[in-house]
């Protein structure tokens, strides 16, 4: 066999191996990513952050009947948060009449929470109240779903600058303790 033919066979085999290897990695990766965000429904223990007597965020542990995807579970958590605390001494962090309309996930593992307008119309003011509202949402989500990177708040499907005129929420948000 000539040297040129040998080289061609080597190149062909190498390319085939690379393509096969890449396909295998892709299948494994997507399968594992998929199981992070889609799974069998099960009962879940979650921590919901409400406001305590000192104005700080405090977790209340609760069990929820989870859904089959991270979007469903996040929505369930927010609905529980909006319903208010059950533990004595804790206060609600979201204004009444606030409800979540939709939850979306992007490729950067940022979860989008789409609320109705009450979240911007009902707050009664104050930077601290705004912080309590924002970080009760963010800390609840990121504490319970480690596979997520950040949280973004939408109102009626639109990006917003602030909830009540103070803190910039027009960017992905991450956890913060309140002082």
């Amino acid at each position: 066999m000539k040297l040129g033919a040998k080289s061609l066979i080597i190149v062909f085999i190498s390319v085939t191996l690379i393509v096969l290897g890449y396909s295998l990695i892709k299948i494994v990766f997507f399968k594992s990513t998929d199981t992070l965000f889609k799974y069998a429904p099960q009962v879940k223990k979650v921590k919901l952050y409400f406001v305590n007597q000192d104005g700080k965020l405090q977790a209340e542990k609760r069990e929820i009947q989870g859904g089959g995807s991270i979007q469903e579970d996040v929505k369930l958590c927010i609905e529980e948060l909006a319903a208010g605390p059950k533990e004595k001494g804790l206060m609600r962090s979201l204004p009444p009449l606030v409800f979540i309309k939709g939850v979306y996930l992007d490729e950067n593992r940022c979860i989008y929470l789409d609320f109705n307008k009450s979240i911007t119309e009902k707050p009664v003011g104050g930077t601290k109240r705004e912080q309590q509202m924002i970080y009760s949402l963010v800390n609840t989500i990121l504490d319970n779903f480690g596979q997520l990177n950040s949280v973004k708040i939408l109102v009626d499907g639109q990006e917003i600058k602030t909830l009540g005129g103070h803190l910039d929420v027009n960017q992905p948000l991450r956890s913060k303790k309140l002082e």
């Binding site: 003011g125 104050g126 930077t127 601290k128 103070h166 910039d168």
Partner: protein
């Protein structure tokens, strides 16, 4: 409509600046003050118009108390005998002004510093006191810890996520005024504490908690091209704090604290500029 709004906003600084020469108490000091380039302070009373801001349990409205403090400070600045000040308010009346307009206005007015005045509120009635914020995109705990490590020069073998580092570098590049904003915040909280905690002639002392200096991503501070802070003067949701606003002495002392802080910062910035010449 927006142009009219901005034009109206520009009229007030002209009016306030026009008072400068009349306000000096001593002729010598006035002459000295007039020789200096006026130090321009943009004062931003939070909220206004349909946006009342926080509401106290006794009905105190944030938009009203912060406007009163802002106008008192503007007057104190232009009346100051030691230094030539130009005071500019982002709203001259009880009117809604969008955050973007406040930022644009502040930049167009070419202020030396920007100070937004607010009153706070919490779901907890126990929350009280005043606090001073300067802006940072590094607002969450993970990024704050990274920033602290980077600032103290501690390096780790395992790097944080690339997006985190890029985020910080972008922020550092963006905010060239961060150091001066931090200085401003530190001086304000120290001077307000000194002024408010000073005993009155009758020996009484006003109680107010100093919650210190903090960082947060305030929309109104982002985009302002000058050292900028936001002062949360007190909690209207707290009974004692709300009562303080009914006491003229409290407001006088707070404004005195603001004035002293601005004077110290102006001197510091003048010195820094002279050194860089």
């Amino acid at each position: 409509m927006d142009k009219i709004k901005l034009l109206l906003l520009f009229l007030l600084p002209v009016f306030l600046a026009a008072q400068e020469p009349q306000s000096s108490k001593s002729a010598g000091k006035a002459g000295q003050a007039l020789l200096q380039k006026p130090f321009s302070v943009i004062i931003d009373p939070g909220h206004g118009g349909r946006d009342g801001g926080a509401v106290g349990n006794k009905g105190t409205l944030e938009k009203n108390v912060v406007f009163e403090l802002a106008t008192m400070l503007a007057k104190a600045l232009v009346d100051d005998p030691d230094r030539a000040f130009r005071a500019v308010l982002t709203r001259a009346e009880d009117k809604f002004v969008a955050l973007e307009d406040r930022i644009t206005f502040a930049n167009q007015a070419e202020g030396d510093i920007f100070m937004s005045i607010h009153a706070n509120a919490s779901e907890s009635k126990n929350d009280n006191g005043f606090e001073v914020y300067y802006n940072s995109l590094v607002t969450d705990d993970a990024l704050t810890n990274i920033a602290k490590r980077e600032n103290t020069g501690i390096s780790e073998k395992k790097d944080p996520q690339p997006t985190d580092s890029m985020f910080i570098l972008w922020e550092l590049a963006q905010n060239e005024f961060q150091k001066e904003s931090m200085d401003f915040a530190d001086i304000i909280q120290a001077e307000v504490e000194t002024a408010v905690s000073a005993k009155a002639e009758n020996g009484k002392k006003i109680l107010m908690r100093n919650r210190g200096v903090k960082q947060a991503g305030f929309a109104v501070l982002r985009g302002v091209r000058m050292p900028a802070i936001l002062v949360e003067t007190s909690y209207l949701s707290n009974e004692a704090d709300e009562n303080n606003f009914k006491n003229p002495e409290f407001k006088d002392k707070m404004v005195r604290g603001f004035l002293e802080a601005i004077k110290k910062l102006a001197a510091k910035m003048d010195k820094r500029r002279d050194e860089n010449k």
